[in-house]
Symmetry: C2
Subunit: 342 residues, 2 copies
Amino acid sequence: MIIDCHGHYTTAPKALEDWRNRQIAALGNPSAAPKPSELKISDDELRESIENNQLRLMKERGSDLTVFSPRASFMAHHIGDFEVSSTWAAICNDLCARVAGLFPEYFIGAAMLPQSPGVDPATCIPELERCMREHGFVAINLNPDPSGGHWTSPPLSDRQWYPIYEKMVEWDIPAMIHVSTSCNACFHTTGAHYLNADTTAFMQCLTSDLFKDFPTLRFVIPHGGGAVPYHWGRFRGLAQELKKPLLKDHLLKNIFFDTCVYHQPGIDLLTKVIPVDNILFASEMIGAVRGIDPETGNYYDDTKRYIEASTIVVGSDRHKVYEGNTRRVYPRLDAALKAQGR
Amino acid sequence: MIIDCHGHYTTAPKALEDWRNRQIAALGNPSAAPKPSELKISDDELRESIENNQLRLMKERGSDLTVFSPRASFMAHHIGDFEVSSTWAAICNDLCARVAGLFPEYFIGAAMLPQSPGVDPATCIPELERCMREHGFVAINLNPDPSGGHWTSPPLSDRQWYPIYEKMVEWDIPAMIHVSTSCNACFHTTGAHYLNADTTAFMQCLTSDLFKDFPTLRFVIPHGGGAVPYHWGRFRGLAQELKKPLLKDHLLKNIFFDTCVYHQPGIDLLTKVIPVDNILFASEMIGAVRGIDPETGNYYDDTKRYIEASTIVVGSDRHKVYEGNTRRVYPRLDAALKAQGR
């Protein structure tokens, strides 16, 4: 089977955005804020938003299951305070859980966290545990920069983040390291901030001994790892200068890259440079790049085509990228599939 | 001949660093600051610092000429105010000019600018013009983030930068877009901040119409363009979503990438994806990654080996990457070479 480990609910009914706009309009005046119960979206509306979009494309392209989390750019942790983020995260996670409930064969949830700039990450734990316990989610998205492009939080290696990691170890879940909208005019959200964050997160891990403290902690770095595989020689050399172990020993038991790289040469580079055990199939479909590539006639984000055309990922390696690695990195997903007899 | 368009004076005699430390120690107390005349470095010391380092490696590796600018990580525009940066930039530029004067066959200067966070970039023009007029420099390094990782300046497409661009057009010089040390704990300087800045600068250009306003403006994006070539499909797709022209028409008359990518698969990706006319040979030798790659037995930053081993850059294309493109993008360098009969 083919598991896409990186899908967001980018096609939620407009009522969600309207509710969020009301919440934002009421910032500083909590009594005017909408109640979660005021968001009314029927199961039919959810079905329609999925059947015409992600599910249609999954069937067309031939993927079987998507790890599904709230829309990354809408997390916008920089807006409002912890209460605002907390209410918003719960609503978004609940919608993903409903989608997974309506299409249990096709979607399984990953949680956004109610992060807020300057607020202790430990405050995210109740929502994290609620999503695991009540919704059967299999992963979280962790934003290394809840400020939205101002980078005011400490690096991921800082002990401030450790309570989250302790819970990840306890629940045996990975985190996809994923920022949200940039509110810094320097950084285009999907063209700069996302990729920069991927590179930044990798380097934060490289310079630290985080995985000595958490040997089983697992991070998925999306968008093909930002700039990392392209500059793999630079990173190997920097690790060497810093007297760190070889990257395969220092980081690759804990860090994995997805395949959200939207052209064949990029996928070929990724798969040539990074060990196959560290590559997880993903598309982030109906995301940053929704068009058709005039050079190929296919959707940019139809990443399965690049894997299918690969002369590097062949035979049993293809199974690892499509399914095996993801089952290993997301044990709760593996367990859920086994419970379904898959 | 082989021109390396990206070299910094990373090996300057220690007296330079000592002077800088005294300048920093006197911040807020200008009367205690050292005078530029207190920096004493003899020609013999300069010769030694070059002959044992850059020049030795150029001869060993077989490159002929280096575009030589002050050490990027030492620019540290975030330290002090405009006066501090101004004094420091002049000292550093003068040293590069002296090196070029001592070794006119091997080095030609590029200027750092006395940028300072929150200060109008137009204040850099006197130093820019001094370096062109008095030192015969052929390019500038432009820091898109003088705050050192806080990204408080407007994007490069903002009119605030236009006075610099007007001077670049007038002098017919390119700018290498190069940040300096990160003082934001999130960003490792050479492992994250440099690459992020490259990606960010490219995307700032992509979303703007800067090159409509300055059709002859030329930016060299170093470190192989950050994440850009690896994600070329993403950038083509984003341009398409933004209703911009094809990247080759929208940006590639004005943006060039260097070859500071420290492994063969990265260079192969770069040269496969980016048109050969937009690739300039460079190594940034004795820079971020100074070690020997145990996988090859060669220096990571000996980028000529990757070009020599390339099956993509062959025949006349190799001449373009090594020399022709750089002569075209740096017309003052071309003129200086011609004046030498080269």
